[in-house]
Point group: C2
Chain length 185, copies 2
């Protein structure tokens, strides 16, 4: 159901899509769908929750690696870029549609986002503490810079494009690490 909702919201946009469209995509009657969800907004929130868990696990794995800070950052950068590319429709919906949530659901998405930022800032802070970051690097600005770059992926990446996700993820990881540890000269 979540996958069907992602396909529909990706294709039609959240605002134009209806519960009826999602029901048709799952092959269910609209009434039966309401057995599982309360509203369209509920469906949007479920997509984010479902993604958040997987993304969180990935961040924790990178943070928990028994490796020097720069390697932990590189590992996170690569895994994160690859996850974004492999889940590009989800990420696109997140980037474009999160502000359609309201109340508790909005608060929850903002809380999760703040958690991600804190996790990445932690990885970058470790690089800085090890004396390996660019001189004068601002950890918060670097965090925003990197998430901005990642959130731009749905603007241009198409699964059928000529570049395999693995190659793009390697490139993005290299650029993210360079952002943090500074230029060669």
């Amino acid at each position: 159901m979540i996958e069907a909702a992602i396909r529909v919201f990706h294709k039609k946009g959240y605002r134009s899509a209806s519960i009826q469209d999602v029901a048709a995509e799952v092959g269910m009657l609209k009434g039966s769908l309401y057995h599982y969800i309360d509203s369209k907004e509920d469906l949007l929130a479920r997509i984010f929750e479902d993604s958040a868990g997987r993304f969180e696990t990935m961040l924790q794995e990178a943070a928990g690696l028994d490796a020097p800070p720069v390697d932990r950052l590189r590992s996170f950068a690569r895994e994160c870029s690859l996850w974004y590319l492999q889940n590009i429709e989800r990420v696109g919906i997140y980037v474009k549609e999160w502000q359609h949530l309201s109340g508790k659901r909005l608060k929850e998405v903002v809380r999760i986002r703040t958690d991600y930022e804190r996790s990445l800032a932690g990885l970058i802070g470790d690089v800085k503490e090890a004396g390996e970051a660019a001189p004068d690097l601002d950890v918060d600005h670097a965090t925003y810079f990197i998430f901005g770059a990642l959130n731009g992926l749905p603007d241009w990446y198409r699964r059928r494009g000529p570049d395999p996700a693995e190659r793009i993820a390697d490139g993005y990881a290299g650029m993210i690490v360079a952002t943090v540890i500074g230029a060669r000269y």
Copy 2:
């Protein structure tokens, strides 16, 4: 009028804002405002056109500098970051609302965007040709990465925040240059 529209769209969001709101902000009657513009979409398009000219000049100035490629890139990166920060409401409206345009106006915004991307890709390509880019750097991916990072600025930057725009722009310029020429090790 453009400045008033920016303030209104920034505060209320394009979709919720009305021509009446903009008229009130300028201190005009709604009917008089229609003397200058056709519709709310027209007003949105004018904001983008107005910004595009200034941004374009800045790009050309950086490209025309009599300096080595890396310095041209650094100059562009700093000026561009500073311009984004000093025009953060415009940039925020651009990033969030451009898809509300339609027809010719949408085509025009997409064309301008493609021009920007080509200009930045040109600067990055010059660094690469001079043999000073990171090994294996993909010029297109670096271009998208950098515009993504810049377009993320309205998500967090507030004019009244504690960090002066100049300091943030210096930091962003350093990160952008590092993205292109590669990490120190």
